[in-house]
Symmetry: C2
Amino acid sequence: MPYSSDHKQQSREKILDSALYLFTRHGYDSITIDQLMKHAGLTRGAFYAHFANKSEVYAEAILAALQRRPEMMPADDNLNDKDWLKQLFFNYLSHEHVNEKSSACPLAFLATDVANRDPAARDAYTEVYKQLSRLIGDKLMPHADHRSAFAITAMMIGGVALCRALSETKTSEQVLDSCRQTALRLLEESGTNP
Amino acid sequence: MPYSSDHKQQSREKILDSALYLFTRHGYDSITIDQLMKHAGLTRGAFYAHFANKSEVYAEAILAALQRRPEMMPADDNLNDKDWLKQLFFNYLSHEHVNEKSSACPLAFLATDVANRDPAARDAYTEVYKQLSRLIGDKLMPHADHRSAFAITAMMIGGVALCRALSETKTSEQVLDSCRQTALRLLEESGTNP
DNA sequence: GTCTATAGAAAGATAGAC
DNA sequence: GTCTATCTTTCTATAGAC
């Protein structure tokens, strides 16, 4: 065995990193296996030593997002839950996110892309979404109804997906601004609505 | 000229109807010109008498949505603005919409699909979005800040796009329910927040 | 495990008959 | 204007050398 099992694992991780990066930004159909492998520093043929086909690496890449640490997530250390959420809302509903300056959330970037894929991809997407909504729901708990986490995440995902599709910066600004304000309002006012 | 100009116009409309139907449900890349023309009752070759290429018909199809009457829109007649909005929220944030039983909104179904297309498609999408947000904003005006229309539309679009991607019916139910409740809440409580 | 080379299929776009 | 036939490109997936 001229290549160690560790080396194979490293290649696999490199491919998954590239897949998450490229698929999230350009969608499933726009990325070829050739592009993917070149981005990972390998060639086309090596791909099939790691994955059975293109749709498999797509689903795996979405799941891999759970292992990576998104820059948008505030560092847990000194923030209370409310401030942590505020920070997340601002990071997520930002131009930096829409324009992919920071890491790009597959939930927002692949929402309609995943809907047209196979069950494995949708399962992976569902798993990532459940983790995000649970995280937000838990931090929301003392302040708001746990269930409003679903509406807030839908607004976050929808706001970013929408702005990425829009061609007018001005409208995009208005959408992000309105979503940020409304997210804060839902957080602040939730105590008054038991 | 063996074919009247009216006949050509009719063919064009048939193609646009099919394009709106198919692209919205399956995305740009999944639909071939062959499928599109068969759905419209014509053959591949005839396509290029109407459109220069595939990306052109995609943008035109999105714009065509403005001419069609979506079943989700409540009939204007007897409803006041607030009830009209409530009705729209329930129609839009429904399983019938997610599962394409009624007409499918391209804003929700194509959000991330359009982001990967050319400027013409994004311009068309932007135009449709501006019309929806203006309509909702105007009806919201007496009750709420005009600008909260952007957050509400983002939640509607995000909620439907999200549910279409999810593979768990239960989670999907929770998302739609939470979005409906929150949309109503934003409508009801808006008066208290000048 | 990774490489180059290639088979095989799919789909966008064009040509020419009617 | 619409049809059938075809050119051409692109891309997934496989084969075989190292």
